[in-house]
């Protein structure tokens, strides 16, 4: 991994975790919407 520091967070890992968490959160929310409205 590059030594370049990312903006805002201390490491790139935090950014990657954020991207994956947002993706998973959307999957869960969409799943709940699908179940609730069908």
């Amino acid at each position: 991994m590059s030594p370049e520091k990312p903006p805002l967070f201390q490491s790139w890992k935090t950014w990657y975790k954020l991207v994956l968490a947002v993706m998973l959160m959307q999957v869960v929310v969409y799943f709940l919407i699908t179940k609730y409205f069908s």
Partner: protein, 566 residues
């Protein structure tokens, strides 16, 4: 089209083209022409990546996809954030370290010239065809609905793109994409708001969402697995990840976008920006389609959305039959509307029994409608042999032209043109870069001057634009445009990704092994397409192609007697 619509359309397009040409007028050497000045900040890279991926097909076809099939298409994008992370961690630092112009240069460093050339040629075929579809989609729909000649529409978009792409290269592409994206997002947001405001006064936003949900349009996550099912959570998380890894990691039209970044950090943040925003953007476009679906529950839709073709068919021998079908369709629609009003009543009263009865009545009348639509398509096909009788791509624009106010119509048309131009310019720039760097400079003329390469790049841009325009004028076969674009991509991306994965991660595999594995893999994928099209959904071609390259290259390498090859 009123004068106001023309002013909005031509004003926005002229501004973008002239501004892009003027702002990038300093691109005087081949490096800045092909890579830009590498001064792009992360948000510019993110916008550029999104604008490249979102072509006119996205905005024409996706709302229609939601109307017919619900929102489950959103699952196709679930693998994208994962792909962004993998590319940021693995592929991006390698491209930066090697200071490459194109992704395929790396393959010669790792393997040899023939593997680099193979990947470059696969890309040129894939992207050349896609550029044709990128141009064909809006040309066909706009020319049909507006009554323009398709040659005129194709020429108009093609020439506008040539003007700034040839003049300013990669830098002009990035600059214009910012304004194109502004037009696109504001236009689509306005269309969504307008679709909602056109609903009957007693239907609230929540009512419309609940009606859409009860009628199966909010099917955003489907968990049943079938190899033949194109869009479910499994194909979205697994197969799409492979597709997006290949598209963003090895397709020069995207690689060039983030290699134009000011630094590795800016490029990484651009990819992260895309990973965070892409799914919500697609969600919103699909949701606009759902709102249009609800609108057509309370307002009678036409029996066939390509009105121009319908009118032409009526003037032919089957005209009488189509008139009768329209009458039948009106009756079926009245039944359906009664069911929908009952459904709304049931929702207001939270009465599951009423909701259940209303849904049953709705689906019965929907079945009648579908049968009438099928007979109408058959009648049109009989009256006009060879005509494209799939009208899904016309639903959204037909709605815009008939129900939205003047000014907004011009803006939505500007959205379609902007999206077509933003994708096409990236594609042409990438095609020209790859042709110049990987073919012309490496194989044809290695000792030419920098000026010669710059002039050649410009001529290659024009040549690819002309070829794309030729493809666009010939193409008329796609059942659904957005799916066709993804099918073409899936035919080649798996193999290309497999070559790159072997290059990155299986160090013991040498050039001959990966080269022949790629040839076999591409044959297997094409075999799947021609012989198992119904059995295997196209997204899985990405896994198959990639998997065959990785496995066979390891096997071939093991079988080879020396490290030099099989």
């Amino acid at each position: 089209m009123s004068t106001l619509d023309w002013l909005v359309l031509l004003g926005s397009l002229t501004f973008i083209v002239l501004y892009g040409t003027w702002k990038s007028r300093g691109s005087k050497n081949v490096e800045s022409y092909l890579k830009g000045d590498q001064q792009l900040k992360w948000w510019m890279i993110g916008v550029s990546i999104m604008a490249t991926q979102a072509s006119a097909v996205t905005f024409l076809s996706t709302p229609g996809q939601a109307i017919e099939d619900g929102m489950r298409f959103v699952q196709f994008y679930f693998g994208l954030p994962l792909a962004m992370v993998i590319i940021s961690v693995t592929i991006l630092p390698i491209y930066y370290r090697l200071k490459v112009y194109t992704a395929y240069e790396y393959l010669e460093t790792r393997f040899d010239l023939k593997t680099r050339t193979l990947a470059a040629i696969l890309f040129l075929i894939l992207r050349g065809l896609s550029a044709g579809i990128t141009l064909f989609a809006p040309s066909l729909v706009l020319s049909t609905l507006l009554g323009w000649n398709i040659f005129f529409t194709t020429l108009l978009i093609g020439i506008l793109v040539i003007v700034y792409t040839v003049s300013g290269g990669s830098q002009a592409v990035s600059i214009t994409q910012r304004y194109q994206m502004t037009v696109i997002l504001s236009g689509m947001a306005l269309a969504g708001i307008m679709a909602f405001t056109l609903l009957p006064g007693d239907i609230s936003f929540l009512d419309s969402v609940r009606v859409a949900g009860e009628l199966g349009k909010l099917n955003m996550v489907t968990t049943d697995f079938q190899w033949s099912d194109r869009y479910n959570i499994w194909s979205g998380l697994l197969a799409s990840t492979f597709l997006f890894l290949s598209y963003f990691g090895t397709d020069q039209s995207q690689v060039a976008r983030y290699l134009g970044g000011k630094s590795l950090t800016e490029s990484r943040m651009g990819l992260i920006f895309n990973g965070l925003l892409k799914i919500p953007m697609q969600f919103l476009i699909l949701f606009i389609g759902v709102l249009v679906f609800v609108f057509y529950l309370f307002n009678q839709p036409p029996v066939f959305h390509n009105q121009v073709l319908l009118t032409q068919a009526k003037q032919a021998q089957t005209g009488q039959e189509i008139n009768l079908l329209e009458n039948e369709f009106s009756k079926a629609y009245e039944e359906k509307q009664t069911a929908v009003l009952r459904l709304v009543k049931g929702i207001h009263e939270s009465n599951r029994a009423v909701i259940g009865t209303a849904k049953k009545q709705y689906f019965e009348s929907k079945l009648k409608e579908d049968r009438i639509k099928k007979r109408t398509r058959d009648a049109i096909a009989m009256a006009m042999p060879g005509a494209k009788t799939q009208d899904r791509d016309y639903i959204f624009l037909n709605f815009v032209l008939h129900y939205l106010p003047h000014g907004v119509i011009g803006l939505i048309l500007a959205v379609m043109f902007s999206a077509a131009m933003s994708s096409m310019s990236s594609e042409l720039s990438a095609l020209a870069s790859t042709t110049t760097v990987d073919v012309y400079k490496r194989i044809v003329k290695a000792d030419a001057t920098a000026t010669n390469y710059l002039v050649s790049s410009k001529w290659f841009t024009v040549l690819w634009a002309l070829l794309a325009m030729g493809f666009a004028m010939l193409a008329s076969f796609a059942e659904n445009l957005i799916q066709f674009v993804n099918i073409v991509g899936s035919l080649f991306y798996g193999t290309i990704l497999g070559i790159f994965l072997v290059a990155f991660y299986i160090k013991r595999v040498k050039s001959n092994a990966v080269f022949w594995a790629a040839i076999v893999a591409e044959s297997v994928v094409l075999g799947c397409y021609f012989y198992f099209y119904e059995e295997i959904a196209f997204l899985y071609y990405n896994i198959i192609g990639c998997g065959v390259v990785v496995l066979l290259s390891a096997v071939f390498q093991t079988l080879s007697r020396t490290n030099e090859g099989i």
